[in-house]
């Protein structure tokens, strides 16, 4: 009997101790993230989730930000708008900020929920919505390296530079999704303004069994260059089909996460990857740091983390600036004037202003395979574009 009383007393004491410890633990910065961890589009977004998880684990292990841990609740939306809407509704309850790392059809429902609850919304991993560009909507922010219109301007500028005054004919390979089509229709128009001959945009269904007929259309139209800005499968699929049918032109695509692996696999000197993130072949200290930290923590190679890592750095800076206690309004203000040294992950800092929630300047680099050196090389250094 006495033993039971002792066990009971010990139990009560344990509960009291646990409760006290909880009461004394610093309150966290609560953040919500709706992300396509699974589903058909997860390959592009799950690495962002893994980068965030690893980044803030390290922050929390080191004592958090301003003495408070960062508690991120992740909801897998599978890239489905209705799931993203439900996730946003759930996550905005108590969160200081919402992060979206998913495909563009999830944007509208998440933005609606963020607006209704006055929650700042940070896009990291998916293409930046126009609301982040000047004049920015007060609560919308974006850290993703690729941005519509700017990428096309840069790619076409590169083609012009490489052509060295020679008139070239440019083709465009889009996927059958609105974002890709609109971007490349803009690119086609912009190419004409730059004095280039153009081939109407070739729209490719993502589920095409064979990209050869699409490639054949581009080849027969006489494309010297082809620019593709689409999900990775179409970008690289059209290039491989063009190569297969003996096309001799040059190809430039946006270098999503698989670009580094694919340049190495294909070893094709006519394939150019335009990207806003420095490839890990550059072996910068930050690359080694990320590689060490994510070892055994992710399902993806370390170089897939660049996009999510940069986004996490921006959130980190915003929370530090916000201080404690931090409110949604204060955090939005903090992010509006954030300046983040990306340590070489990007070509320059990410600086946001009150009316520019993308960045004051964006930087691009072009990589390609160098047959002589049997390695990936960058074609020149970083190019800067001012975002106005």
């Amino acid at each position: 009997m006495r033993g039971r009383i002792l066990i009971g007393a010990a139990g009560v004491l344990g509960l009291v101790a646990a409760h006290t410890a909880r009461a004394q633990a610093p309150e966290p910065y609560r953040i919500g993230m709706t992300v396509a961890i699974t589903g058909p589009f997860s390959a592009g977004y799950a690495p962002t989730y893994e980068a965030y998880r690893t980044y803030f684990k390290r922050i929390n292990d080191a004592g958090g930000i301003n003495g408070h841990p960062v508690a991120i609740t992740y909801e897998d939306d599978r890239g489905e708008p209705q799931r993203a809407a439900a996730a946003a509704k759930k996550l905005t309850d108590g969160a200081l900020l919402l992060i979206n790392a998913s495909i563009s059809p999830t944007y509208k429902p998440v933005m609606t929920e963020a607006e209704a609850t006055k929650t700042p919304l940070l896009f990291g991993g998916g293409v930046c919505p126009r609301e982040a560009f000047p004049p920015a909507t007060p609560l919308i922010f974006c850290t993703t390296s690729f941005g519509s219109k700017w990428d096309s301007r840069m790619a076409l500028g590169f083609i012009k530079e490489q052509s060295a005054g020679k008139k070239v004919k440019v083709g465009f390979a889009a996927q059958d999704i609105p974002l890709s089509r609109v971007e490349l229709e803009f690119a086609e128009q912009h190419a004409k303004e730059l004095g280039m001959d153009t081939i109407p945009v070739v729209v490719v269904p993502g589920s095409a069994a064979d990209f050869t007929p699409f490639a054949q259309n581009l080849k027969e139209a006489g494309a010297d260059w082809v620019f593709s800005w689409a999900p990775w499968g179409v970008e690289i699929g059209v290039f491989e089909a063009l190569n297969r049918i003996g096309w001799k032109g040059s190809y430039i695509l946006y270098g999503h996460q698989p670009a580094q692996d694919e340049l190495t696999r294909l070893k094709a000197p006519n394939l150019h990857a335009l990207t806003g993130n420095a490839m890990f072949i550059e072996n910068l200290p930050i690359h080694a740091e990320i590689t060490n930290l994510v070892k055994g923590q992710t399902n993806h190679p370390a170089h897939y983390m660049a996009e999510g890592w940069t986004s996490a750095m921006v959130l980190d800076a915003g929370l530090r600036k916000c201080g404690w206690p931090c409110s949604r309004e204060k955090l939005a203000q903090a992010l509006s004037s954030v300046s983040v040294d990306t340590k070489g992950l990007r070509g320059g800092p990410i600086e946001m202003t009150a009316d520019n929630h993308y960045r004051k300047a964006t930087y691009y680099k072009v990589y390609r395979w160098d047959t002589a050196r049997s390695a990936i090389v960058s074609v020149g250094g970083w190019s800067k574009l001012d975002i106005k």
């Binding site: 699974t38 058909p40 997860s42 390959a43 799950a46 059958d176 070739v202 729209v203 490719v204 269904p205 589920s207 095409a208 069994a209 064979d210 990209f211 050869t212 007929p213 699409f214 054949q216 259309n217 990775w232 499968g233 690289i236 699929g237 491989e240 190569n243 297969r244 049918i245 003996g246 698989p258 696999r265 399902n299 993806h300």
Partner: protein, 291 residues
Amino acid sequence: MAQALATTVVVASLYALLAAGYVLVYRASRVLNLAQGDLLTLGGYFLFATAATFPGAPALALPLAAALSALTGVLVYVALMRPMAGHPIFAAVLVTVTLGILLRAAIVFVFTDRTRHPLQQLGLTNPPRPLVGGAVVSTFDLVMVGAAVVLFAALLVFLKVSPLGIRMRAAGERALLASQRGINFHGVFALSWALAAFAGGLAGMIYSSNVRLEPSLGILGLRAFAVALVGGLDSLGGVIPAALLVAAVEVASVRYGNALLSDVSPFVCLLVMLLIRPWGMFGTKEELERV
């Protein structure tokens, strides 16, 4: 024109390999195997796994992956389809839908969602091959065509001539009568699943070597399903002209029409066929009425 023709034959070969799986299972058991596309994906991942286990040894990796695909078909029958015997066909079809979902999830769980290229591990290359008329196809395009030709020839001979093939046809036509005559129809059904999974897996192995490997490849199964229906679900011979027709319409819509139509062209072919001849080009009317 030569290039369009070459592409048509290549795409048709892919569809034919996949559609053969639908027809084999349907003929034997009257079940629509809606997991056929995912069996294609699984075949690709089997190759990726065997190639990673035995790098640079395609002579070992390829047959092993093909054998694993066929074994999967047997396991699917034993574990999932055999217990459905005696239940409505509709329930068995739903089981195949569930199987497809489970396979997709398992693939992501085991292999992650990254795009893979088994050819790298196999140590093989895929150089272009010029054809007459200026057309160019890849080496694995030719392998796809060759595989379809060999598989169909072998299947047609097997079903027509071999005792086991004749038993398979008999079980498909009159299961009760066949069992009364001593035919082990569970064995026959298991064989049909093995052959279907083998055909799908083979298509997946070649496709992933030629193009790419990712968990969402199963979507190709839907196009091949349209091919099977256009040819006639109970007609293996009907698969070949149907695959050529669907592929030709698909390629022509990209080359001479609106590229976006290529995505729906297999289903346009199917719709037209359902309107004019619902049992397919070479299917039998009686079979459809039974469905």
